[in-house]
């Protein structure tokens, strides 16, 4: 099982990161992002989260990256997941794509997930899955 996540620019610009991670690696991924910031200043957060089986999540991410194309900043490693679009534009696109392709990828009702909360979420989703 995998998560698709959207992270807002912590500095508030109209840029959002779209990425995927497996259930198993989600906490490590957040930890890696957290490394760039002192915890007292900013908590690395998956602001929006979706979940599903591996193949649909991977396919959805691929489709989204193709759709946003040149709105993604092409600066090589570390830059290629940032989409320079407003969050609502990206959310609209994700929802339309899930509906239009019928991806079995489902939104998570969350205010945001960070290193402290992600394990709980994974446990909850694993229960849903089984």
């Amino acid at each position: 099982m995998k998560l698709l996540y959207l992270m807002r620019d912590p500095f508030g610009s109209d840029a959002n990161k779209i990425g995927i991670t497996s259930f198993r690696s989600a906490k490590v991924r957040l930890g890696t992002y957290q490394n760039s910031f002192p915890g007292k200043s900013h908590l690395a957060t998956f602001n929006r989260v979706w979940y599903g089986e591996d193949n649909p999540v991977k396919e959805l991410e691929k489709t989204l990256k193709n759709q946003f194309g040149y709105a993604i900043q092409f600066e090589g490693r570390g830059f290629t997941e940032w989409v320079y679009e407003k969050e609502e534009t990206i959310l609209k696109q994700i929802n339309e794509t899930i509906a239009g392709y019928h991806y079995h990828v489902f939104p998570v009702n969350t205010d945001g997930e960070n290193v402290y909360t992600i394990e709980e979420l994974i446990k909850r989703l694993e229960k849903v899955d089984t």
């Binding site: 396919e59 759709q67 600066e75 090589g76 239009g100 019928h102």
Partner: protein, 367 residues
């Protein structure tokens, strides 16, 4: 001072910002058809394409600066020559294939002749490429033959010795052999099916226009890659399925219905080969065997796909997985040798297990 390394994607982004309509710029294809939308009448200056090529290849792959060169001053010349002046030296040529010649003959048009290339040694024009073309022209009763040729009389002794030869004829033979391999093997680029399709379409080939009408009426668009909504990129397979005719010789019927099924089930998804192809085969087989697949069938099967698997890529992947699971668990008497038939069988099994409202053709592999 440390210089910033060339970042191709940034440069592509910068280059594209000059255009109203953005287009793909990749190593294997700059999408000139979309690029053309930025120009009046769709005609692009080569200079603009050259700039795009420079950006994709980057400065490291740029050839070293060279002095301006007017090829008319070089050793390669053009002329129309008589049949008796043309020769073949098999040392740097392949055997002649009469059946290939006949193929050319059947499709011959004097406006499409590519000029044969030769090396001229002692007043003999010896072809290193275009031998079949020259023979085809002769069979069409040409009286003169166009030739691009390397004039060995203009090659200096220094050039010959610099290349490690002490004999101009041997040097010429070596050069012709090298060129023959360059042209026919090393740098041969076959036409991508998408390019071939678009050329046929835009030059109004009847068969291709017919197929494209089906594609677009079903809501798909021919594309090189399946990376945009409603893209159809499986051109060769599309042509094969389009060519499947019914009892009255009508082509495109099963292709059309399979695409319609795909579109009504997944409004935005690009065409997934191992979904629409086995569906077309199923429509055809059902018709041949006398089973009527009504519109309700498309609706209930589409809904089942969506409910059980979701998107079309996952559908075909899951159906193949089901086939292989069964193959490895219980085995099949006659296993299928192609994915299109594995998915075909899996669809029938899936339908029979979950819906079974109408009868379908029997799957060769059943579970």
């Amino acid at each position: 001072m440390k210089t910033k390394p060339y970042n191709r994607l940034v440069e592509i982004d910068k280059y594209l910002s000059k255009f109203t309509v953005s287009f793909e710029m990749k190593d294997d294809a700059i999408d000139t058809r979309t690029m053309a939308d930025n120009y009046e009448n769709g005609i692009i200056p080569l200079a603009d394409i050259a700039d795009a090529i420079d950006i994709v290849l980057g400065p490291q792959k740029h050839p070293q600066e060279k002095d301006p060169f007017d090829p008319r001053t070089g050793v390669v010349k053009f002329d129309y020559v008589g049949w008796e002046q043309l020769f073949l030296w098999p040392r740097f040529q392949r055997d002649v294939a009469p059946n290939h010649l006949y193929k050319i003959q059947q499709d011959f048009d004097p406006t499409c002749v590519i000029v044969p290339t030769a090396i001229k040694i002692d007043s003999k024009y010896m072809l290193w490429d275009g031998h079949h073309t020259a023979q085809a022209m002769k069979r069409q009763n040409y009286t003169k033959f166009p030739v691009w040729y390397i004039d060995t009389d203009l090659i200096t002794d220094d050039e010959v010795s610099d290349a490690g030869f002490d004999d101009k004829v041997e040097y010429g033979v070596w050069l012709a052999g090298q060129n023959m391999i360059r042209i026919n093997s090393r740098n041969k680029r076959t036409l991508h099916p998408y390019d071939e399709y678009m050329i046929l379409l835009e030059t109004k080939d009847t068969h291709t226009v017919h197929m494209n009408n089906i594609l677009t009426s079903a809501g798909f668009y021919p594309k090189r890659n399946p990376n945009t909504n409603n893209a159809f990129s499986q051109i060769k397979s599309g042509q094969v399925i389009f060519d499947m005719a019914d009892d009255y010789g009508v082509k495109g019927k099963y292709f059309k219905r399979a695409l319609k099924f795909h579109k009504q089930t997944w409004d935005l998804a690009p065409a997934e080969l191992e979904v629409w192809r086995p569906m077309a085969l199923l429509y055809k087989e059902a018709e041949v065997q006398g089973f009527a697949l009504d519109e309700e069938f498309d609706k209930e099967l589409g809904d089942l796909f969506v409910k059980k698997f979701g998107d079309p890529n996952t559908v075909q992947q899951s159906l193949k997985d089901e086939y292989y699971n069964e193959l490895h668990t219980n085995g099949f008497k006659e296993p299928r040798d192609h994915d299109q038939w594995r998915v075909y069988d899996a669809i029938i099994n899936l339908y029979n297990k979950n819906i079974k409202r109408i009868q379908l053709p029997t799957a060769l592999c059943r579970w």
